[in-house]
Symmetry: C2
Amino acid sequence: DGPASPPDRASQCFSCHGADGNPSLSAVPIIAGQQPEYLQDTLNAYRSGLRGGGRAIVMQEIAKDLSDDDIAALSAWFGDQK
Amino acid sequence: DGPASPPDRASQCFSCHGADGNPSLSAVPIIAGQQPEYLQDTLNAYRSGLRGGGRAIVMQEIAKDLSDDDIAALSAWFGDQK
């Protein structure tokens, strides 16, 4: 399971995805409780540019500065939220 | 809210996403309770090819045969699942 307090890099996720992964913006996906492996694959795909199109550019910009450890920590933490 | 029984086209989603949108496959996203507007935007992006890369080809193949009504019904129904 993910640690109790959010990982360092999580704060940049909060503006769109909400402080616990439950967004107030209706077009933004809920990531609280999402499958960690899916979150990890998706962040890796944004970082590598494999996943693109439309608003993906926002995620590509954010993901390109994330390390493997960041991606693992963020995926575990948000996956662990309700 | 979405109707109680799943829309016609939902059966092709079940094999990966599970019969109520909670997948057994750890790399597949949970879509039960996901934001309907996000689901709708995402299905439209797969249908138009805007979202691509990696496993997206599976979703592109499925989405290309969906009508606007199908996409709206699927998004509402899965968004309504727990």
